[in-house]
């Protein structure tokens, strides 16, 4: 029953999306004006119906209804409840349902609260949102129905990929999806503004909070995903330039650029066409990422659907949405009038450089991700990894960091370097101190060296915008900017330190023996079998002592799951203020020795701490903007109320 209810809700939601599209489009014509009142309520109900369908899917997973094909294929009655629920989106159909749910909810939310723009622009925006949603509804209902029944029901399910049975990962996809799909709002706003030719500061101010919210979720999702890969895969790395990671990084890069160009458009009415273009590009990157991951043309842990039909379906959706939006842009771009002028040395100039550099990095990542596909079409099998991505993105990242340090100190419209020169003395001093310290430590490769030194300079430069300000009266968005930029310095420091100073040790030891890695002495006490709800494991007990201080126990495991049969290695982490010890238990070597892989990674947690600071900066900015928007609305309502009273 629940499955049928979910399917019915999904069909109804799709029908309402069609209604929303038609009503929204007709309401823009003089004869259809009467339909204008329908669009917003329909958008809200459509979002709620999608949510109901998603709720139904979670219910059938929670009670392990094996007569539903998707549950039988991906779940198991012996799984802990939290992973049964998370299993609802840990597969192709469920994750696509999550996609349309977030999309419907985002559209409904916009319809409910967004009152800043002229009504025709809102109608066009909501129609655009419905158009994109409709494609994904069709994809779900035609090519990937999550509620399909199975008769007869099997006695037991196939289980969930053990790598995905992890609490952090249970909430990683929803977070990322809120980001990916949240960008659809920016896409629809861009469409709406192009259709009604309303590109201006009001448009940017209306779009900015939505972009900001999506960007916060993306930032948190990427940070969490990186930490998951770090401790769950047991390879000691935190970023592999895997296509799936790139698929999440590309929308983030575009959204970051969009966020900054939105700022220019809102404050100065410049970069008009460019901002609209970025609105289209950001969500296009989300869709391209989905295509790469979901079509199965790139193999990875995340690639659920190895199905050519689905791949071509998503490709067609991609072509229609992106092609349509770009065509509209091409037709209307010439009628978007030029923005206000500014000098090269100005806040706008710095933000233009930031945007161009981010776009260049985006191009580098996109090209490197697609290259294996292009090469395969020409008959060569290649893979592209860190030797390409690291130096190539650094070429554009390093100048961007320099602009990032200087830009926030510049005035809008026109400024001179002479004015900010004195202020830059402090960050320069930090850079010089950094160079001296790193040279004293010894041999460090070029990229980590640059990273460490620039992180020092940026950390100081990022707080400079607070100088000469009354801190109590500093607006929240400024605090947000400072915090986010400081977070970039922190994350960069972690990345560079990990790459420059990590120590690795691979040994085979008997129980009772001690081995050293960096400042640590690690003794293997015992290796014993242990059991969990759906796995058994070999667990090593190790005593780790930092510089011969007190010992702390570490228990890495080598786990064997039985549904589906698969082994994973559960690394053990020991975090100190100055870094992390990372231990992995391998197999049994000859003559009773055990393989151990140990890393000492100085300051590595800074990577994720920095990521969280960046997201927190976004939260502060969003809170500040929303508060001032609400104040403005309330003030406007009061004035309107007084006028009506006086009028009487």
């Amino acid at each position: 029953m629940i499955a049928e209810f979910g399917l019915a809700a999904l069909w109804l939601a799709a029908a309402l999306a069609a209604l929303q599209l038609i009503a929204g489009a007709l309401a823009l014509t003089p004869r259809g004006a009467a339909l204008a009142g329908v669009v917003r309520p329909v958008a809200v109900v459509q979002g709620l119906l999608a949510l109901a369908a998603f709720g139904a899917l979670i219910l059938v997973f929670a009670e392990t209804d094996l007569s539903v094909k998707l549950v039988a294929m991906n779940s198991h009655s012996m799984k802990p409840l939290i992973f049964k629920i998370a299993g609802a989106w840990g597969n192709h159909e469920g994750s696509m349902l999550l996609w349309v749910t977030v999309m419907g909810m985002a559209g409904g939310f916009v319809a409910l609260v967004e009152k800043r723009l002229p009504e025709p622009t809102m109608l066009a925006t909501l129609a655009g949102q419905a158009f994109v949603s409709l494609g994904f509804y069709a994809f779900l209902l035609i090519a990937s129905n999550p509620f399909e029944r199975l008769s007869p029901a099997p006695p037991e399910g196939n289980g969930l990929n053990p790598l995905l049975q992890d609490l952090g990962l249970a909430f990683h996809p929803p977070t990322l999806y809120l980001g990916y799909v949240g960008l659809s709002v920016a896409f629809s706003f861009a469409i709406g503004a192009l259709v009604t030719r309303q590109v201006g500061p009001a448009f940017a101010r209306a779009m900015r909070p939505w972009v900001l919210a999506a960007w916060i979720f993306l930032t948190v999702g990427i940070t969490a995903g990186s930490y998951w890969a770090y401790y769950e895969l047991g390879w000691g790395g935190w970023w592999f330039w895997d296509p799936v990671e790139n698929a999440s990084l590309m929308p983030w890069l575009a959204a970051t650029a969009l966020l900054h160009s939105c700022g220019v458009l809102a404050a100065r009415n410049a970069l008009r066409a460019w901002t609209v273009m970025l609105g289209v590009v950001a969500f296009s990157m989300s869709m391209i990422g989905t295509f790469l991951v979901r079509s199965g043309i790139l193999t990875s842990v995340h690639a659920f659907a190895v199905d050519p039909e689905r791949g071509s379906f998503i490709l067609a959706l991609l072509a229609i949405n992106i092609g349509g939006a770009l065509t509209l842009f091409g037709l209307r771009a010439a009628t978007v009038t030029e923005g206000e002028r500014f000098r090269p040395v100005s806040r706008e100039g710095a933000l233009v450089l930031n945007n161009v550099m981010l776009s260049a990095i985006l191009g580098i990542v996109l090209f490197g991700t697609l290259y294996p596909l292009l090469a395969e079409a020409m008959g060569a099998k290649v893979s592209v990894g860190p030797p390409y991505f690291n130096p190539m993105s650094a070429i554009f990242f390093v100048p961007m960091l320099v602009v990032l340090a200087v830009g926030p100190l510049l005035r809008w419209r026109r400024d001179t370097f002479a004015r900010v020169r004195k202020r830059l003395a402090l960050p320069l001093l930090a850079v010089l101190a950094g160079i001296a310290i790193v040279l004293a430590i010894g041999d460090v490769a070029v990229l980590p060296f640059l990273g460490l030194v620039l992180a020092a300079g940026l950390a100081v430069a990022s707080v400079l915008p607070l100088r000469d300000r009354n801190l109590r009266r500093t607006p929240l968005p400024v605090w947000g900017m400072v915090l986010a930029h400081f977070g970039i310095a922190v994350a960069l420091f972690g990345m560079a330190s990990e790459s420059a100073f990590s120590v690795e040790k691979l040994v085979a030891v008997r129980t009772g023996e001690t081995t050293r890695v960096g400042p640590w002495a690690i003794r293997l006490m015992a290796v014993e079998p242990v059991a969990g709800p759906n796995w058994t494991a070999l667990e090593a007990q190790m005593l780790a002592r930092y510089q011969d201080g007190r010992g702390t126990e570490l228990r890495p495991q080598s786990r064997s799951f039985w549904t589906p049969p698969q082994q994973t290695s559960e690394s053990a982490l020991l975090t100190r203020w100055n870094g992390q010890l990372y231990a992995v238990l391998g197999g049994e070597a000859t003559d009773g020795r055990w393989q151990l892989r140990l890393w000492w990674k100085p300051f590595v947690p800074m990577i994720w701490l920095g990521g969280l600071l960046i997201a927190l900066g976004g939260v502060l900015a969003l809170a500040g903007r929303t508060a001032s928007d609400i104040r403005r609305l309330v003030a406007r309502d009061k004035i309107a109320y007084r006028r009506t009273r006086q009028g009487r």
Partner: protein, 156 residues
Amino acid sequence: MAGSGTMGLKPKHQRLVLLAIALVVLIGAALLAIWALRNQASYFYVPSEIVAERPAPDRAVRLGGMVEKGSLRTEADGVTIAFVVGDGKARVPVRFSGIVPSLFVEGSGVVAEGKLGADGTFLADNLLAKHDEKYVPREMQNMTDEQARQVVAQTR
């Protein structure tokens, strides 16, 4: 940059200047990417290919094939293994230091990432084995070249 002149520019010209800057940087990035990809992309070889056309010694490549039965040996340090990867036509000795994936066994498919040493031994710094046992059919033991390619495609 253009210095004092820009503010004097007409809005239309400023737009053109901005567009030109963006295009120059993006096209530069694209050219740089193409150049780097030609040098840095890691090519995939099966044993007969890597024997016929040896990649440069310092170039990262991937080697895929079957782990030959009876070829797997663990060295005295307990963490270095040596084995032979074959595709029915050619055989390549491989050395790897590290923790092997659980489904890495003799007679199954493997992809090794690393470099071909000067002595013809492949020095792997990572091994990839397919997660699922179902992917290794029994017919693989006496496989033809076409079958080898299929295995390789599955394990890639």
